[in-house]
C-alpha cells in the first residue's frame, strides 16, 4: 500500500512549497485527539526523521511515521473546493466513522 496525491492536490502542494521558499515535501500523520479519536496532521516537511516512510506521488515526496501509516495507509489526498472554501481532503479507506465535521476519525 502507499499514500498518493491527486493531481490537483499535488499542484497545490507544489505551489505552497514554492511560495514558502523551503521544504522537501509534505508530512502526513495522525495524532490522538479530537472528538472522534484521531486527527489528521498535515505539515510542510523540512527534514527527514529516522523512521520516516517516504512515498512519492505526482512528483511530491510524502513523509509519514510508521505508527501513523497504519491508520492512513492507502489514503489518497485530494484538493477540493466547496463554495468559497477550499482545502485538502483525506480519502482514507481505513476510516470507520468520523465526527460530523470530519476533522477527526476512528478506525
Amino acid at each position: 500500500m502507499a499514500l498518493s496525491l491527486t493531481e490537483k492536490a499535488a499542484n497545490h502542494v507544489q505551489k505552497t512549497i514554492t511560495n514558502r521558499g523551503k521544504g522537501i515535501g509534505l508530512r502526513l500523520g495522525v495524532k490522538t485527539s479530537g472528538c472522534s479519536g484521531m486527527a489528521y496532521v498535515m505539515e510542510f516537511a523540512d527534514k527527514v526523521d529516522e523512521q520516516d516512510q517516504i512515498f512519492e506521488s505526482q512528483g511530491i515526496k510524502i513523509f509519514v511515521d510508521p505508527k501513523s501509516l497504519i491508520y492512513i495507509d492507502g489514503t489518497e489526498l485530494d484538493y477540493v473546493r466547496e463554495g468559497l472554501n477550499e482545502g485538502f481532503q483525506f480519502n482514507n479507506p481505513n476510516t470507520k466513522n468520523s465526527c460530523g465535521c470530519g476533522e477527526s476519525f476512528n478506525v
Binding site: 472528538c35 498535515m42 505539515e43 510542510f44 482545502g87 481532503q89 483525506f90
Partner: protein
C-alpha cells in the same frame, strides 16, 4: 467534511481549535479581506469572484444594508442613502468634514455639539463608525464562509497618519461588527511585510501609498531583519477621489455643466471620470459621453496629455511630503534602496513615472497594489493568532504610551510616540544648558502629559565627563531603543568627546490596561491645561537661558563696551525679568524677554564687532584672501 490546510512543522492545530485569522484593509474606496492558508497569503473573493469590496453602503427601509457592488449600483439612483468614502469621516468632527470637500453628496445632520458627523438616511442617522461596521461585517462574513469557522481575530490596517481618535473610531467599528481586533497596523508597514522586506537584505525603503482617499509616504529602515520607521508624512485627504474630481471638473467646464448640478448628476460625472482615468492607464485617450440635463448628449475625448496636465499638480502634492520625510530621516534620494508602490492610484503610469523620477529608481509594482496591504495584514494576523512557530514571531508590536525624556523646566520631550511599532530606535540631540556644564541628568518618563510630574518615571541616570564648553556647544545624542520584547534601553553619548552612559528598563512593567487607559484619558482631559503649563515653563526656561547669557556677557564686556546709562537700562530690564520669571504669567515673561532683546541689541552688535576685531588683529588683509 472539513477541508484541511498545510501547517508549519509542529504547528498542527487540534481539531476545532484552528486560530482563524484575517487581515482587513478597510480602505476609503475599496476594502479587502485576506488570510493565510497553507502558508500562502491571499485575498478572498466573494461568490462572484470579486476580491475588492467597494467601501460603499446603501441603506433602504426595512432591509439589511447593502454593501459593495450592490450598494455602488444604487449610488446614482439613491445618492443620499448611499454612503461612500466614509473612511474620510472616521474620527473627524463635522467642521473637519466640511473642509475636506465642499461637495460631499450627503445630508449631514446639522448638530454642532455632536462630535461625530451624522448622516441622515432612510433608516435614521448613521455615524461613520456604524457605516464602517457594516462594511467590516460583510468582510467578516466572507472570511468566515471561506474559512469555515469563526474568526479568532483580525488585523485591520489604518493610514500611518490616523490620529488617536481615528484609530479608536476604527476599533469601535470593528467591535460593533463583532470582530476581535488583534492589532491596528499601519498600512505602509503592512505593505512592507507583504513584500517580505523584513526577510530581504538590509536597506532603506520608501513606501509610496496613493489610495482612493489617503496618501502616505513612509521611510522604513531595515536592519538585521528589524524595521525602524525613520519618518512618515502624507496627506489624509488626497487620493484617487481627487484625481476623479479634477477630471470631473474639467468635463463640467468642457460640457458647460453648472457647479450646482444635482447630487446624482455629479456622482455620475465622477463615475465617468474614474472610468476615463482607468482607461488612460493602458490607452492613449479616453472617449467621454455625458448625458446633459436637458436630455442632449455631450461627447468629447480626454487625451493622455490633457490628463497629465490635470493630474500633475496632484502628483506634485505628493512629492512635497516625500521630500519632507527624506529630510526628517536625514537622507537623500540616493540612500533609498527600494521604492514600493501601494494603492490603486499607483496604477496610473504617470504616477509611477513621476515617483520613479523623484527617487531615481524603478518602483516595485509586483504585487497588486490594491491587495498588498491586506496581504501584509493577513500575514501579521496569522502570526498574532499563534499559527507560526515562535522563531518566526515578528517584530511588530506597539508602545502603549509615549516614551520621553525630561527637559529643562520639568517638561517632557517625547522621543518615541505611543503606538509606534516595536522594535524601534529613535534618537534626539540635546545640548548643554549652562557654560562649563560637565554632567547631564537623564530622566526617562512614560506618558502623554506635558509635565514630568504627571507622567510615570521609569529610570534616571547621569552622563558624566562632558568636557567644559559654552552653553549650547555640547552635542548629546540620546537614543531610545525598544526591542521586540518591549525592553527599553536608553543611551546618551556626548558626540565631541565620545563619553557615553546607558540604562535598561522595561517600560510596560506594572502598567495595567486600565491604568494606560486612565493616563490616556487624563492626557485628553487636561490637554488645554497642559498646553498652558507648557507655554509657561518654556518661557521660564527661555528666561533662565537669557538671564544666564546676559549675566555672562555683562561680566565679560559690560564695563568696557557699555556706557553707564546703557548698563543701567539693561540692568533694569534684567531685574524686571527676574521679577516676573517665577510668576504664572507666560505673556509677562515673554514681554520681559523681548524687552531685554531690544535693549541689548546694540550691546550684542558691539560685542560681535569687538570679537571680530580681536580675531583680525595682527593679520594682514592678504592672510584672509589666501584662506578663501
Amino acid at each position: 467534511m472539513a477541508l484541511l490546510q498545510i501547517s508549519e512543522p509542529g504547528q498542527s492545530a487540534a481539531p476545532h481549535q484552528h486560530n482563524l485569522a484575517a487581515g482587513i484593509d478597510l480602505g476609503t474606496t475599496n476594502s479587502l479581506v485576506a488570510t493565510v492558508r497553507s502558508g500562502l497569503a491571499e485575498t478572498l473573493p466573494d461568490n462572484e469572484g470579486h476580491h475588492l469590496l467597494p467601501s460603499i453602503v446603501h441603506y433602504a427601509k426595512d432591509a439589511a444594508p447593502q454593501v459593495g457592488y450592490a450598494a455602488k449600483a444604487q449610488a446614482n439612483i439613491d445618492p443620499l442613502n448611499t454612503i461612500a468614502s466614509v473612511k474620510r469621516l472616521m474620527g473627524r468632527g463635522l467642521k473637519d468634514v466640511k473642509t475636506t470637500g465642499t461637495r460631499l453628496p450627503y445630508d449631514f445632520v446639522e448638530n454642532e455639539d455632536q462630535g461625530m458627523p451624522m448622516i441622515r438616511t432612510v433608516v435614521g442617522d448613521r455615524s461613520p463608525v456604524q457605516i464602517s461596521a457594516d462594511i467590516l461585517n460583510t468582510l467578516k462574513q466572507r472570511a468566515e464562509k471561506t474559512l469555515g469557522g469563526e474568526l479568532t481575530g483580525v488585523v485591520i490596517t489604518v493610514p500611518a497618519y490616523f490620529d488617536e481618535a481615528q484609530r479608536q473610531a476604527t476599533k469601535d467599528a470593528a467591535t460593533l461588527a463583532g470582530l476581535n481586533v488583534l492589532r491596528l497596523l499601519n498600512e505602509p508597514t503592512a505593505a512592507a511585510v507583504a513584500y517580505g522586506l523584513d526577510k530581504s537584505a538590509e536597506g532603506v525603503h520608501a513606501i509610496y501609498d496613493l489610495g482612493g482617499g489617503t496618501f502616505d509616504i513612509s521611510i522604513l529602515r531595515l536592519q538585521r531583519g528589524v524595521f525602524e520607521v525613520m519618518a512618515t508624512a502624507g496627506n489624509s485627504a488626497l487620493g484617487g477621489d481627487d484625481f476623479d474630481r479634477a477630471i470631473a471638473q474639467w468635463i463640467m467646464q468642457q460640457a458647460g455643466i453648472a457647479d450646482d448640478a444635482e447630487h446624482s448628476h455629479i456622482r455620475e460625472l465622477l463615475d465617468i471620470a474614474r472610468t476615463a482615468k482607468e482607461t488612460l492607464s493602458t490607452n492613449e485617450s479616453a472617449p467621454l459621453e455625458i448625458r446633459l440635463e436637458e436630455g442632449s448628449v455631450w461627447q468629447g475625448e480626454l487625451s493622455n496629455d490633457q490628463f497629465n496636465q490635470l493630474i500633475d499638480p496632484l502628483i506634485q502634492k505628493t512629492i512635497a511630503p516625500c521630500r519632507r520625510t527624506l529630510r526628517d530621516a536625514g537622507l537623500s534620494t540616493d540612500d533609498i534602496n527600494e521604492v514600493v508602490m501601494v494603492g490603486g492610484s499607483t496604477r496610473m503610469p504617470r504616477v509611477r513615472e513621476k515617483i520613479g523620477d523623484f527617487f531615481k529608481r524603478t518602483p516595485h509594482v509586483d504585487i497588486d497594489p490594491d491587495k498588498v496591504v491586506a496581504i501584509g495584514a493577513a500575514i501579521q494576523a496569522d502570526i498574532l493568532a499563534g499559527n507560526k512557530p515562535d522563531d518566526d514571531m515578528l517584530l511588530l508590536d506597539v508602545i502603549p504610551l509615549s516614551l520621553g525624556i525630561e527637559t529643562m523646566g520639568g517638561l517632557v520631550e517625547k522621543i518615541i510616540p505611543r503606538n509606534t511599532t516595536i522594535p524601534v530606535a529613535r534618537g534626539q540631540d540635546f545640548t548643554t544648558f549652562k557654560d562649563g556644564q560637565t554632567a547631564m541628568a537623564i530622566h526617562v518618563v512614560q506618558g502623554e502629559r506635558e509635565l514630568v510630574m504627571d507622567c510615570r518615571s521609569l529610570a534616571r541616570f547621569e552622563l558624566r565627563g562632558i568636557p567644559p564648553m559654552v552653553a549650547g556647544a555640547g552635542r548629546i545624542r540620546v537614543s531610545y531603543q525598544v526591542d521586540a520584547d518591549g525592553l527599553l534601553s536608553v543611551s546618551a553619548k556626548e558626540e565631541t568627546s565620545g563619553v557615553h552612559s546607558q540604562i535598561t528598563v522595561k517600560p510596560s512593567y506594572g502598567l495595567q490596561d486600565n491604568e494606560i487607559e486612565r493616563m490616556l484619558k487624563e492626557s485628553l482631559e487636561y490637554a488645554e491645561e497642559d498646553v498652558a503649563t507648557r507655554t509657561l515653563r518654556e518661557q521660564q526656561v527661555e528666561a533662565d537661558r537669557v538671564i544666564n547669557a546676559l549675566r555672562a556677557a555683562l561680566k565679560a564686556d559690560g564695563q568696557v563696551l557699555l556706557k553707564q546709562h546703557e548698563f543701567l537700562e539693561i540692568n533694569t530690564a534684567l531685574e524686571d525679568l527676574l521679577k516676573v520669571e517665577q510668576g504664572n504669567d507666560a505673556d509677562a515673561i515673554k514681554n520681559a524677554i523681548e524687552r531685554i532683546n531690544d535693549v541689548t541689541q546694540e550691546f550684542a552688535a558691539r560685542r560681535m564687532d569687538a570679537s571680530i576685531h580681536q580675531a583680525m588683529k595682527g593679520h594682514r588683509l592678504n592672510d584672509f584672501a589666501e584662506n578663501e
